[in-house]
Amino acid sequence: MSEFEQLYRELILDHYKNPRGHGQLPDADVRAEGMNPLCGDEVAVAVAFDEDGDTIRDVRFEGRGCAISQAATSMLMEMVKGRKASDVAEMPKDDLLEEVGIPLTPVRLKCAILGLGVLKVALHKAKGTPLPDEWGTSASELRLA
């Protein structure tokens, strides 16, 4: 398989063309948005929690971006639905990258983890869970929100 085909393998293209968990979530408990300032891509994530207040009952995203960012966010939606907020907040980005399963350069890596970052900001807003490392302090968070 050539590098080409690796990068844009069937699964990525499928998620890109038929994103899972895409759309609005009217009864969301929390929303967050973020953008990649390098390309202007934007992702918004909405989360609704179960009655236990921790389990992610439903999660949806909207936005515009490249195949990598959209497919990765789509995969992410499938990965986190039904899981506990506290677990997801700790989820290493490598878990998502493994799922994405293609070799990524640093610039494209930022595309792939955009949705994860925004989701973690949403969980932080709702539950006070930790922010992703790269964003550090609240000043950055405010700009992200």
């Binding site: 990068l7 844009y8 293209l13 202007g40 891509d41 934007e42 490249c66």
Partner: protein, 415 residues
Amino acid sequence: MAVTTPRATLDARSLRADFPIFEQLIHGKPLAYLDSAVSAHKPRQVLDKLRDFYETSYGNVHRGVYALSERATAEYEGARHKVAEFVNARTAREIVFTRNATESINLVAYAWGLTNLGPGDLVVVTELEHHSNFVPWQYIARRTGAGFRMLRVDDGGELDLGDLDRVAAAGDVKVVACNLVSNSLGTVNPVDRLVPWAHALGAIVVVDAAQAAPHRRVDVQGLGCDFLAFSAHKMCGPTSIGALWGRLELLEAMEPFNLGGHMIRKVQFEETTWGDVPAKFEAGTQPIAEAVGFGAAVDYLEGVGMEAIERHEHELAAYALERLADVPGISLYGPPADRRAGIVSFNLEGIHPHDVAQILDMGGVAIRAGHHCCQPLMARLGVAATNRASFYLYTVPEEIDRLVEGLHKARAIFG
């Protein structure tokens, strides 16, 4: 310096041999570098000069009484003269060395703007501006209480000069900031028509020539503007050096920007007085080797001939527009070939520019995908990003063929 008759044409294939970057394979393919608008590669002539300078003549400038410092000073000031001649400045004192075009513009925005702008005044930019000639003005306008206005572009990506009266009616226009060539669309802007308008209103005209100076002859006296900014790295020169040309009277009347060593006349606890122009604007240790490399880049470009470069890129742009028009699902942005420089911007339906650029890269073709530091223009065009291919003196038509081939491949992958 002997007056050289500009050569009418250039031979890109033989010039390519001057650029070591083309000697490698990228993903197993020869490099088709179609992103010269973001930065140009460097010919051996410039790299040799840089190295030779560090090895034989390096020293801090304007400071030492010893041989190396004298030699370095002569090289540094010699470069200033070359750059001054390159844009037809009246005197080399009108050239201030900066880090890049962005800093050149910030210098004017801060040093001129903080003192000369206030409530009731207007700063006018265009919708076509690069962030570097947009955000500094927006910021300094806010700091000083001045208003901020934007000249609109039409659907073809050209300035709407019918907009001028609306803007002039909104306040006391003090600054008009405009680029000579748009880095997103390649539009060549009618700065010659903005200058008399601005001057009649008593405004200064700040021209961003970052995308013009590398590609066509720029003549500050002919343009009649007040300040002009450009970067060496887009002109086959080193990074971390750019230039601000300014009218001597304005530079002399202006406050300084960065403060520190070299830019002073006399420092006392009570008061400090400024040195002469251009020292007044060059605080601290200057971009010494970079200036020397900048001078070598100017020599290189003049050797090729600016007229030949402009013509070559123009032919490439026309060829590219023609070939791209045949790609199904393509949207092309910007004016027709005869009113644009060597830059083409486009989108493929249903495929994000990042993905297009990535697929092209796999084939060794480097283009830019993004907002090109022109978010206001992207908003106007109703897109988040575009693909952009841009050309230079070392670009050959086969690279455009490979670009088109890659676009077909992208379409095939995304089905």
